[in-house]
Symmetry: C2
Subunit: 385 residues, 2 copies
């Protein structure tokens, strides 16, 4: 029996995790749930899944929630859920840098972590991987791309890998010209072509920042140099990623674009569970799979992420923090799409990198970068027309 604490249970990954839990009551039991502020949905989840505790990150909302079980709040609440004695597995589907510390605390408390939170490895990959290397716990990616790589490496030797290729739908604006990208709005992006995702990640997909984060995550997860990590646009989102070995044989993982497949894989890793409710891939219905190079000129965030990943230290945390703020403003239609890259680039340019930072230094820089980025944006705000 896997006893689960699901951080971010009301978000896209959280609700899909509960879809899996619902089907297998004999395999999974929920012991803790957390949300940011959606206490209505959390209440329903409490009624259905009967956790022992919950946490609400938004402290005011936490105070509004009436429940028969302990309700914790803020970062302390998240950490309590990430370390609760009765959970053996923590699902971290928090969005943003608030997800970093809960992952670390979970590992420190010998929990297995099913990880959807990107910021954990992007900002603190070195620290997290070092902790894992001296621990008996495991960290299993939920992301479809990293889940694909993990599955492609089953039974293989990671030293035989010559290259991994992360696929990418191309995001909402893949067919827009450079000029058009000056005028696109958040609402256009939120019509994402293939995956059912949250708003922040949908924008990150449109800018290719999301793929940049995944490149950095893959670097840490699979201990690969950036020169061995490729990105290819694959609009159908059927091939979830590929691994090329030194004998030129390539293994790929495919499936319908449904996050419940990698979520279920992460929850019960390494055992596969039969699930007839998941959609079956039928290649003769799909008919064609296409592939093309990403356009680094129109979507410069991808190239930036490689550069930042290579420089490492505190720089990925700066990139992530500035991006988080820029996306927030873009979602409010307060800045233009092309401003996102410019704003992040400015933050990066102003930062003096600390190599081998502590987790406290990373979180401090995250906070500081967010404050300064907000200030900069507010100062020079260019309202999207």
């Amino acid at each position: 029996m896997k006893t689960l604490s699901i951080l971010g249970s009301t978000g896209s990954i959280g609700t899909q995790t509960l879809d899996i839990v619902r089907i297998f009551p004999n395999k999974f039991k929920v012991v803790a749930l957390t949300c940011n502020s959606n206490i209505e949905l959390l209440k329903q989840q409490i009624d259905e899944f009967k956790p022992e505790i919950v946490a609400v990150y938004d402290e005011e909302k936490a105070d509004e929630l009436k429940a028969d079980i302990p309700v914790y709040k803020g970062m302390d609440g998240l950490i309590r859920a990430a370390t609760i004695g009765k959970a053996n597995t923590i699902v971290n589907s928090l969005v943003g840098s608030i997800g970093v510390i809960p992952t670390i605390k979970a590992i420190d408390n010998l929990k297995n972590v099913a990880l959807a939170n990107k910021e954990t490895l992007v900002t603190a990959g070195a620290i997290v991987m070092k902790k894992l290397s001296s621990s008996k716990t495991s960290l299993i990616p939920i992301d479809s791309e990293h889940s694909a790589i993990l599955q492609c490496l089953n039974g293989e030797n990671v030293n035989d890998v010559s290259k991994i290729t992360l696929t990418c739908s191309g995001g909402a604006f893949k067919n827009r010209s450079k000029g058009e990208l000056g005028h696109v709005k958040a609402e256009d992006a939120l019509k994402h072509p293939t995956w059912n995702m949250g708003a922040k990640i949908t924008i990150d997909s449109a800018t290719f920042m999301n793929k940049g984060f995944e490149v950095i995550e893959a670097h840490w997860l699979y201990n690969l140099p950036y020169s061995k990590i490729d990105v290819v646009i694959h609009p159908q989102s059927i091939v979830h990623s590929l691994v090329e070995f030194k004998d030129k044989s390539v293994i790929a993982q495919l499936g319908m674009p449904d996050m419940r497949i990698p979520i279920q894989y992460a929850l019960n890793y390494p055992q596969r569970i039969k699930n007839e409710s998941l959609p079956q891939l039928n290649l003769t219905e799909i008919k064609e799979l296409t592939f093309k190079e990403p356009d680094l000129e129109r979507f410069p965030c991808l190239k930036m992420a490689y550069d930042v990943g290579i420089k490492s230290g505190t720089l990925p945390a700066v990139m992530n923090a500035a991006n988080e703020i820029a996306v927030k403003y873009f979602l409010q239609d307060k800045i233009r799409f092309n401003d996102i890259h410019r704003i992040i680039q400015e933050s990066i340019g102003q930062h003096t990198v600390i190599t081998n930072p502590t987790i406290d230094e990373i979180m401090e820089i995250d906070k500081k970068t967010k404050e300064e980025t907000e200030k900069e944006i507010e100062k020079g705000m260019c309202i999207a027309s």
Copy 2:
């Protein structure tokens, strides 16, 4: 060090096997070579690879060969090469049912077998798999499709497989109408689109008989019911086959269509060897991968093979033998393309199936079916116009 006896060294798979051997003199040593009748090429191979013995199946040609090493002939010669003490690995790239007994003798003599000969498993799958199950030897497929399945199953549990899909280029005539198929000639088929193969297999690809054989081979190799084996047309021949697991996750093996990749994999299984001389897959150059259902009406051999495989016993041997003769006559432009299926179907219809046949019964039926099929064809010969 793998010490190799290569049966069929002058054919397409044989010469490509030697291409791999040539690159890795410290990993592979040739101790025996055999050919059917191409003694000119065999001589060159003797000079280059310095085997300890050779065998020539064609007894007259054998007598013509002058060499400083023992030259054996006929089936006895093949068996001698398949069981030679100094070889630990037998590469069986013989074409036709003459390959069956050498595989069995190799297994009986505890040799590992890298298998390209289709007839071994098609006609005697039950016997071969039973021998393997009680032996410490292994049988590794060279065929790109079965090599793909083997690689997809690395680190996985075969009980988790819900379906395998063998891909298929579609053969030379995939775009010809039913009417046009009445007039196509062997020379048209020999312009095969993607793979570098021998003449017999190229015709078998065009009729889909080859894919039918592979379905039967996959049934035996991976112990899967026919209901779990699918075939899909994939003209680019980049995805070499796929495995779907019970959690709807699909693993595929991809690569450039170059037989040296699966040959090398089979020779050094399960270790991969770095080989920069093999072609690298670049999906953004390939651009698209397409998939469609095979047309069982235009290409009825595939459906026939499923039916024959399910009925099992001696029936696959009959289908194989009748096909071997029909293809021989088609290659000589003595029968029409559509006659191939008709001729096989007649042989099958006349046969009374023996369940659980011995190897002697299988070989006897192989011989008898060939003789009778020849007689039938000669009797009712319809010269292709």
